[in-house]
Symmetry: C2
Subunit: 374 residues, 2 copies
């Protein structure tokens, strides 16, 4: 894919040339096709058993709770998984809460269920739970779902604290709403792992549903994700809303076989090192060129650096100058439910090589300086 | 996949061992993966350009109207395409009409949009348009969508006449609803092609949206289908409801490359011959063993033989005796919106070999006779 701007610090995609284990996946695909093992429809709406067994095995080893194939639904990506869960647990007119800001695309996905999206501010410890309690009080039973990215939050990079996760789950149990936790970045930590998943703090009561993706750890074109529900009945409740019936049994089979061969742990470590290195290059560049009055933290995982400009500098003005010189980033206001002050910037470090990250950082810094001097 | 019953005349799947061009698809998949050409997200929500160009080229050669890549949206199968269209053109509480009976799974898919499904009877010429006019009169503007399978209808096998198609489109234009035509079986004719698509009778007014699939012509596990809209804006109107974002660029790329290599025409002819031969074996068996008082027609395309029992014989009773001897079929009442008289049977000829089709037909006929003798 050719980015629109040569210094693309906007698009939150992996660099597939580096991330994807091309030879291994090609060999698996070829074997599955030649032996007619991944050619048919899926049969069961939860997805074929083999990949569910393998994903369950992997989750059991990499989360704090055992996972079973019966608890899993294979989906056409984490976005489709989120759509499914939202469609299942809400009715038109219900309330869905998101962190504000959140993964911008998800706001549209949730709204497709004809629900109302309410934003709750972020704090450095995770979602502002006092604000959430206020939403609970205001809307009562209309609040059915809270969509959260607890680890290496998109776009802020925040890692919710264990206490924050625990309290969020308690609120869900007390007020009978579902927490949908998006684990896309959970295993993309740089040094030490983040706190356990939110589901760790649930006692199997079914108030937490976890969704995940293989797009940022293995290959986006698989379009493969999963729902991890509390039990089989809970998992099956989501399958009747599978607008695409079953995910591709070819790409499901590729993932299942990749895990079964023991390759996924190696791949994840490779992905973590790769992203940590990209992040390191950007952080080093930013530390050299970024202005003192711009606030940002060094990411501990994930894909993004989140920057806050002084009130009088508009991110849109910075963006226009940057783009004119070939450097792109995402204005943070786009990640808010109802827009926001135009002083936030999401900068992604995953797509570009060293030189482009360095030049991109410099162009952005110089653009900020130019706007500040106006 | 191992069928639940050895003589499986229920499941409407292809026999992948025979249908799928394993070596060719494996070679294409390997090439796409090794060259990093089908590893990334899709970027544009309509799907990558190359496969859209190829599908457009193929449609242009095989329908009566030119297709452009701008008119197309690549989807995770025809079911996902139908869901997308329904979600886009309806609001909760609207009315969606289906042929009664119809593809049973689609009733659930449509209901996911919180609309009300109303059935309109089938005639030997296609949907009963007088009955449809009555629905228009009753519901007025609440009627937003008519889902139709004009060619080799699932489950009845009916091929709607050109006049019926033309009149359906006129009704849509006059009353401003959308006709969603499912073309899954359009190109799976045995001798001569069916009438043109419904869109042939539309003057580009956008009242017809065609959806299609590669599952029954190439390989189900691709999970790949398409929406053919009137123009680019019409196509884009459907993308904002893409709950799975984009379909797999790997399987999109495989289809695109397969068409680009000129393989798809050969494959379709192979598929048509294969299905015609399967159908011939079942029809010959039925002509030998089926009882005179059972009504059925020889299919001209598609997947199914539709049978009508005399009023006093219940398909469910027949099914129980058949299953006890290992032969399965689909009771036709399951394909009706609100159930129906239990005197219909859908018999599928695509999965089984000669001997199993013959034995299955015999078991079913003997089961009918046994129920009749009670």
């Amino acid at each position: 894919m050719t980015p629109k701007y040569p210094y693309d610090l906007r698009t939150g995609y992996p660099n597939t040339e580096i991330l994807v284990p091309h030879e291994k996946l090609a060999a698996i695909a070829q074997d599955l096709l030649l032996t007619d093992r991944a050619t048919q429809y899926g049969g069961i709406l939860q997805g074929p058993l083999m990949p569910r067994e393998q994903i369950a095995k992997w989750l059991t080893a990499n989360a704090t709770q055992p996972a079973t194939p019966e608890q899993l639904v294979i989906t056409s990506g984490a976005i489709a998984a989120t759509d499914l869960v939202c469609r299942t647990v809400t009715e038109p007119g219900d309330i869905v809460v998101v962190e504000d800001p959140t993964f911008y695309y998800m706001i549209n996905i949730l709204k497709m269920s004809n629900i109302e999206v309410v934003g709750v501010p972020m704090t450095p410890q995770g979602m502002d739970l006092e604000a959430l309690a206020g939403v609970v009080e205001q809307y009562g039973e209309r609040l059915k779902l809270v969509y959260s990215i607890p680890s290496y939050h998109n776009p802020t990079g925040v890692n919710a604290s264990p206490e924050n996760r625990k309290k969020l789950v308690e609120l869900a149990q007390q007020n009978n709403f579902t927490v949908l936790e998006d684990t896309t970045y959970q295993w993309l930590y740089f040094d030490s792992p983040p706190p356990p998943l939110c589901r760790h703090y649930d006692n199997g009561s079914g108030h937490v549903v976890s969704v995940g993706s293989f797009s940022k750890t293995l290959m986006p074109s698989l379009r493969l994700g999963w729902i991890w529900a509390a039990d089989e009945a809970h998992a099956q409740s989501f399958t009747k809303f599978k607008g695409d019936s079953v995910a591709s049994t070819l790409t499901s089979g590729m993932v299942g076989e990749f895990i079964a061969q023991g390759q996924y742990d190696t791949q994840l470590e490779y992905a973590r090192n790769h992203y940590a290195e990209r992040c390191g290059v950007l952080v080093e560049a930013l530390q050299k060129v970024m202005l003192d009055y711009v606030q940002w933290d060094v990411p501990q995982g994930g894909y993004f650096v989140w920057m806050t400009l002084p009130e009088h500098i508009k991110a849109q003005d910075v963006l226009e100058l940057s783009q004119a010189r070939g450097a792109d980033f995402m204005p943070g206001r786009l990640a808010y439910v109802d827009g926001a002050d135009d002083r936030y910037m999401r900068v992604c470090f995953t797509m570009m090589d060293d030189e482009k990250l360095q030049t991109g950082a410099q162009i952005i810094a110089e653009s900020i300086e130019a706007v500040a001097a106006r």
